[in-house]
């Protein structure tokens, strides 16, 4: 099989053989000279300490190369190809989408990959020098670390590539992640255990131990979390790569089509449930936060609803395509019609099912208010009433978004900003207002209503919060959500009428 043309082109674009060999030689030489000089500067008794320091530095450099340089090279290559129009040259050529994606994943970061190999070799030498009595344990741990690094790098690279293909390289996933982390986004790892699971924090925290000290300390629950995390990362990487393959020749389509979006949701739901079910694995992250069981459950449900917007958007795009084809040419496209219409209901039901599963696996002692949820699988009144409230709120949330998205997709506009606005205004704002009101009332010594809250019920996440808390009344807020649903129906109807008007040109 011939070399992937994109890998070959990127190899040439980054200077060809001369530049690549020079980079490797200079990097390897720098490490060798620096390590050698530091050994000369200390006494033989301090050699072990110096080796440990250098191993730490090489580990940091490896992480930096893998998480920063590799994704940056990929994004810049995509941006270059969009700006020069070469992306269309790739689309025209008889190269499969998979080969194009492979070319982007492996071609632009080629130089960074050589440096990683040099780092791996240097680290192996250092670890071998550290190992006591020629033990293989430390080198194996070092290589295991790199195996894990490869998995995470693949995940990050796939996500960066997908984002770059969706935005022409303009949006940087790394920059978004960095900025959101600065503005409190890191809290997501605390309140959404599924995210902690997928981010691999347990393994990242545990790995330096066997490498540096030659010890392993993963408890059974941590080991399970690590395994589940790696499986989840691999599954997500495959999904992102598949989505990127789709995006190569269908830039106008949403990131995920309906089947891919639903699989993404299933993987995400699995991670959320396992994350809640293995609280011991992440105890060290949120041990200082007190009893946040309910907050984790609600935040995890909200996280599920955010990711559920991907299959929802796919359903909207498919619906618009079908409506347009019917209006413009009278053609009824075959298959999957009902699924696009029923998607809001399906996603609403999936949200409630995920919540119930998370609640079923959650610790009783941590979330006392969950007793009813655990009985909700075989509900009796009033459990049934709360279940109905949850189903209506979640179904309505997706239905409102379905109609709003329809309006924008039909106009050919970008939906990302609309989705963010919808999340902020319809889901987060009522909760934020409540947070402010509760704080102010507390400051004024006015006995705030922590049970029914104030505006939270107008948000579907607020309804979830009221339903899983003991004694909360979700019904008044739910009535407000029904009114919003009516408005959304009008917006959707207007968009469909505009599609008909477009026929007239």
């Amino acid at each position: 099989m011939s070399v992937n043309p994109l890998i070959w082109a990127n190899y040439k674009l980054t200077g060809g053989r001369r530049s690549h060999v020079l980079t490797v030689v200079v990097y390897a030489g720098l490490i060798a000279v620096a390590v050698g000089l530091s050994y000369q500067a200390v006494k033989p008794a301090e050699y072990r300490w110096v080796t440990s320091v250098w191993l730490g530095l090489v580990t940091a450099a490896q992480a930096l190369l893998a998480f920063l340089l590799v994704p940056m090279a990929i994004r810049r290559a995509v941006m270059r190809d969009f700006q020069s129009g070469m992306i269309e040259s790739h689309r025209l050529a008889p190269i499969s989408n998979g080969r194009i994606v492979l070319g982007y994943l492996a071609g632009p970061p080629l130089q960074a990959a050589w440096l990683l190999v040099v780092g791996l070799a240097a680290g192996t030498c250092l670890v071998t020098a550290l190992s006591v009595g020629g033990s293989w344990r430390e080198p194996i741990a070092w290589w295991a670390f790199h195996g894990y690094l490869l998995v995470v790098t693949l995940l990050v690279a796939a996500l960066v590539l997908l984002t770059a293909l969706a935005t022409g390289g303009k949006a940087s996933f790394l920059a978004i992640a960095f900025v959101s982390a600065i503005f409190g986004g890191w809290l997501a790892v605390v309140f959404v255990p599924g995210l902690a699971l997928l981010s691999g924090v347990t393994l990242v925290a545990a790995l330096p131990e066997p490498v540096v000290r030659g010890a392993t300390f993963l408890a059974p629950e941590e080991a399970a979390a690590v395994l589940a995390g790696i499986l989840g990362q691999l599954a997500l990487a495959v999904l992102f790569i598949k989505a990127a393959c789709r995006k190569v020749r269908a830039p106008h389509r949403p990131m995920f089509d309906l089947p891919l979006g639903l699989v993404l949701l299933v993987v995400w739901a699995g991670a959320l449930i396992v994350g809640v079910a293995l609280p011991g694995a992440f105890e060290w992250i949120y041990e200082d936060w007190g009893d946040i069981g309910i907050a984790q459950l609600v935040a995890s449900t909200a996280a599920f609803m955010v990711v559920a917007l991907f299959p929802l958007l796919a359903a909207v795009s498919e619906r618009v395509r079908r409506d347009r084809a019917r209006i413009l040419s009278g053609a009824e496209l075959r298959g999957g019609c009902a699924l696009t219409v029923l998607m809001p209901c399906l996603l609403g039901a999936a949200t409630v099912a995920t919540l119930l599963l998370m609640a079923s696996f959650a610790s009783h002692t941590r979330i006392p208010g969950l007793v009813w949820v655990q009985r909700a699988w075989l509900p009796e009144w009033p459990e049934l009433a709360r279940l109905v409230a949850l189903l209506v709120a979640c179904g309505l949330a997706f239905w409102i978004n379905f109609n709003i998205f329809y309006q924008f997709v039909a106009r050919g506009a970008k939906v990302l900003l609309v989705a963010v606005l919808s999340l902020v205004l319809l889901q987060a704002l009522p909760l934020i207002i409540d947070g402010v009101v509760l704080t102010v009332l507390e400051e004024l010594n006015r006995a705030p209503n922590y049970v029914d809250l104030y505006t939270a019920g107008f948000s579907p996440i607020g309804t979830v919060l009221l339903c899983v808390s003991a004694g909360g009344n979700p019904w008044p807020g739910l009535a407000g959500q029904v009114v919003l649903g009516g408005l959304a129906w009008l917006v959707g109807g207007r968009a469909r009428r505009q599609l008909v008007a477009a026929r007239g040109g």
């Binding site: 082109a9 020069s84 040259s89 347009r324 084809a325 413009l328 050919g412």
Partner: protein, 313 residues
């Protein structure tokens, strides 16, 4: 009749609510060269991009050699070449490396790739630039390199969007010969251009596009003369003015649509050479002092203006 190499069937492209291409349908067979004309914003580029599978379509179908360009892009890609109006190139690669990259994309064997690369570099006057970085080339050279990129894989269907825009007069003349050569090799070609005189010279068919619609479609003679391909317009210049020239011409069998302007006559008659010879003989027999007799090339410019489309905002 041969199978069409390129078929567009009721193609519609919508940008939001704007209908950019509205129900365009046509088919091109081997040896047919379609010139696409229309004002800026009429939908020429969008139609070409849709034909290449680069522009998503709202309804309709595009097939190249019987394969749908959207559902089977890889299979269709083997037979399709497209040059956009702005050349898409890697500025930091050399001309030679760029064409090697293209050959690799199309899976050409090394020897064949080298042979074709040398051929097209020579055909497009780029042979002495093979080691030059693309970024150092002039706009016209880049345009020629983009055409070389399109032709290197030897596609059956070639789509060129404003290919002569960056070329000097010599380059344009050379380019006309190149297109005529490709047409004669049996390829199906579409060229969008504003240079109507050039199109009249090498195109077999013309499509006038306005507001996303195909306003006029046919052979050059059909579109230009708005008449059948069997008739041709002739211009006759007399040695001196003849008062009853129109009456004398009307009496000649087969002559239609006579225009008299002083000593210059314009008329339509059979397009074949025998008809032309007979017409000349009868003109002389009718006592007209013929000083000059020549068939007129179909006048696309006139046809274009006659179609009534203005500039699109």
């Amino acid at each position: 009749m041969a199978e069409p190499l390129l078929e567009l069937e009721d193609v519609r492209v919508l940008y939001g609510r704007l209908v950019a291409v509205d129900g365009v349908s046509f088919a091109l067979r081997g040896g047919e060269l379609l010139g696409m004309i229309g004002p800026n914003g009429a939908g020429k580029t969008t139609t070409l991009r849709a034909a290449a599978g680069l522009q998503p379509i709202s309804t309709g179908r595009v097939r190249v050699m019987g394969r749908d360009v959207f559902s089977s892009p890889v299979e269709a890609g083997h037979h399709l070449g497209f040059t956009p109006d702005t050349p898409a190139l890697y500025d930091t690669l050399t001309v030679e490396d760029f064409l090697e990259f293209v050959a690799r994309c199309y899976g050409l064997p090394r020897s064949l790739a080298a042979e074709r690369r040398d051929h097209w570099l020579s055909e497009l006057w780029l042979a002495d630039k093979r080691k030059a970085k693309i970024g150092t080339l002039s706009r016209g050279m880049k345009q020629r390199l983009a055409v070389a990129r399109t032709l290197l894989p030897d596609p059956h269907v070639v789509l060129l969007d404003e290919p002569a825009a960056g070329l000097d007069p010599a380059g344009r003349a050379q380019f006309r010969r190149l297109l005529a050569g490709l047409r004669d090799q049996g390829k199906a070609l579409i060229v969008s251009s504003h240079i109507l005189a050039d199109l009249a010279e090498y195109c077999t068919h013309i499509a006038i596009i306005g507001h996303g619609r195909l306003l006029s479609w046919g052979t050059v003679a059909e579109v230009a003369g708005a008449t059948t391909a069997e008739l041709c317009r002739y211009q006759v210049v007399l040695a001196q003015r003849v008062g009853d020239a129109a009456t004398r011409l009307a009496s000649i069998e087969g002559v239609v649509a006579v225009e008299v302007d002083g000593d210059t006559l314009k008329l339509e008659c059979g397009a074949d050479r025998l008809s032309a010879a007979r017409l000349l003989e009868r003109l002389i027999r009718a006592g007209l002092p013929v000083a000059e007799f020549r068939p007129l090339r179909p006048d696309l410019e006139e046809a274009y203006l006659r179609s009534g489309i203005g500039q699109v905002d």
